[in-house]
Amino acid sequence: MNQLLNRRGFLTVSATLAGGALLVGCTPAQQMGLISLGAEEDFGPFGPFLKFAKDGAVTVISKHIEFGQGNHAGLAAIAAEELDADWTRVTVEQAAANTKVYGNTLVGGAQGTGGSSAIANSWMQLRNAGAAARAMFIGAAAKSWDVPAGEITLANGVLAHASGKTAGFGDLLAEAAMVPPPAAPKLKDPKTFTLIGTDRVRRKDSVAKSTGVARYTQDVRLPGMLTAMVAHAPRFGAKVASFDDAAAKKVPGVVAVYKIPTGVAVVANSTWAAKSGRDALKVTWDEAKAEKRSSATIAQQYRDLASGKTSGPEKNGWASFDSKGEAAKAAGGANALEVDYDFPYLAHATMEPMNCVAIVKGNSAHLLFGSQFPTLDQINTAGIVKNLPGTIKIDTLFAGGSFGRRANFQSDYVTECVHIAKKVGKGTPVKLVWTREDDMRAGYYRPMVHHAIRVTTDADGMPATWRHRVVSQSIMKGAPALAGPKPKFDSSAVEGAEGSPYLKATPVVDGQVISPDAGVPVLWWRSVGATHTAYVMEHTIDQLARRAGKDPVDYRRALFTKAKADRHLAVLNLAAEKAGWGAPAPAGWTRGVAVHESFGSVVAQVAEVKLENGVPKVGRVVTAIDCGIAISPDQIASQMEGGICYGLSAAMFGAITLTDGLVDQGNFDGYRVLRNSEAPTVETYILRSANPPSGVGEPGTPVIGPAVANAILAITGKPTLNLPMVKG
């Protein structure tokens, strides 16, 4: 997501306007209405990221939401390392919404978590915060002990001097607060890190999450709180025509029924009453503008566009994302490899369905929920309660997963809750609860995508010409009006094909993309464009290697070498070595390999696969990652394990389909997801690196699908071009 927002210039922060105005690509008049997204409040002597208790305990403030990715531990470790704190006495606290202070430089300055950027954008910020506080405590000790600062040591939260004097942070808190923070604190040489990169950097929330104590939006209980459920239109784009709430209002516990922009809301004093009330509603929908097509119809439209069959205005929307040599030469030919891929819509299907708590009183609004993008949620809420975004208070809670779903340009479930809370008014807390079915049928899916590939090869069997067509709905089209010039294409639809080392190594390239509209809302989904581009590139490469009679690892090595893709080569070699590539696989198992770069990190995976009644079974997966300096090796492994399950779940089973505009799946019985018996055992190897940290949450996800498809290719000789692998 970081790349999207940057490249598209969607959000640009101007620090020059008073109050830290945020310019969301819109007119000057609108900009005026958006000022004040937060202020440099008095955060105390150690700034907005660190707090110290009198007993010496350290609190690191996280500007990023924790929804599983383990970033809270990593962020705390960065500050603790430079501070030389005692790691066992460090805890993490979630920051409030304040764009000015807690903006994310990798998503255009908005406060938000996405694009696997939490650690990367906080790296220098938290190192500086920790180092500044360290200098302040050393300065305080020097003054109170009347010794030169250079003679004081600080390790594991203890300040000491050769004279025998020692103190903890708590002992010198008042004195340190008086020391002016250095403008450019001295940072450690990463070679001297004692915490970062060790197995001591472990999660801080495992106890809360193993005892039922961790608090999610679903768990918020406030005095007088009401619970709301909404009857949504069965088809995207439909509106309420009329409704009959007589039966709903008779349900004990139902307090009120309201028409809101997204449907009809039933407000009650318990979740079950709200659901029973909603079930009793009779709503008639105006479907004049609704999307009534089936996903199969849309898929055929995509294929016709890619093959050039389509005529009419649609066919003119092609834009080039890569062009090299004489494009006409890339048209294919008698010996070309011609493969077309189809990818379905995917639901995020987070474990905790979308939900939100809102308290609205007049023009003020206070939200409590798992906010992935507080800045957007503030802006969208402000428009409803008619106030400035900076006045919207957001308490961000743990979220039961997101994978991108909790961040969208419309703040869909958030604004729905705010509309209801506004109707209820009087400062009454309202919790909006979505059932699994509400969540799964609400759209914001990974787009359906079609790729058409034509590759010719040279005498050595290496790619000579590469023609690539991508058809995908645009994710970024849902963005508010863009600030800069309108982009020629949505790079989120092609990232990963665009910039691929394989295309760099191919002399003639003609890559084009088209983004037809559909009424189905689409959104980024863990690893965004890579969810399909990694599959297409990696599976195509294995088919080419097979035609050339070459080993898939050797074939890649040659291309990476030609493209000077050193990091790709390094992780490939590491994974191949650890997996025992070249030696026979355990009896009954076949290996498949894939490599892909996303969010600044490069991941290689070797999967051991067998087919049981035609269904792939994945056993061992060896994964190697180059993510720069590794903060928490254990949490990197955890994200590889989880990312692989998430990607494998989609590759094997994931599909949202529509029949005449109605979403066919509503729950986990229809939308099959990976279960424990289907989950592989993952081994993670981290490449040593001196580069700043890059993404970890997403890069493991897109690699497993093609690794498995490549193993199946080796077993059956047939490519897997139509996902998911297991139908029905």
């Binding site: 005892t211 699994r436 955890s638 989880g642 018996s677």
Partner: protein, 157 residues
């Protein structure tokens, strides 16, 4: 419509309608929010609790069917159960939302099968979805807890 409910060794008077699933009685009426909603149709296991020591999906267990069953929720494990210790030791949770249900299913498993093999573990745990994909650590933590000298007992009501 008051009835009594035995949860974690305590007796509660509850007023929810008889068709209300136990899940919502626990969460909304008793404030025991450790038990989670994930699907409502016995597909995901997030709502798993013990009824007389058996793992049940509380989203499909109406008050009218609970009767005198002794209910144990994640809160009833007290935070010191060997499975909870293993979960923390191996940093099993990611988002954590599924983990109450995972742990309760594992408690029921170890009560009947103190030394489960891989097949027994995945068979017992297949009803518990983890969208974060912590499955491998869940398997490892169950083995870790099973290897502890003091065998875990389901929290007695």
């Amino acid at each position: 419509m008051a009835s009594t409910l035995d949860v974690n060794g305590r007796s509660y008077n509850v007023n929810s309608a008889p068709d209300t699933p136990l899940l919502w009685v626990l969460r909304d009426e008793l404030g025991l929010t450790g038990t989670k909603y994930g699907c409502g149709i016995a597909q995901c296991g997030a709502c798993t609790v013990l009824a007389d020591g058996q793992a049940v999906r509380s989203c499909q267990f109406p008050m009218s069917a609970v009767g005198a069953a002794k209910i144990t929720t994640i809160e009833g494990l007290g935070g010191t159960h060997p499975l909870q210790a293993a979960w923390v030791k191996l940093d099993v949770p990611q988002c954590g939302y599924c983990q109450s249900g995972q742990i309760m299913s594992a408690v029921a498993l170890l009560a009947t099968t103190p030394k489960p093999d891989d097949a027994a573990i995945t068979a017992a745990m297949d009803g518990n979805i983890c969208r974060c994909g912590a499955y491998q650590r869940i398997r490892a933590a169950i083995k870790d807890a099973a290897a502890q000298p003091a065998q875990p007992q389901p929290a007695k009501a």
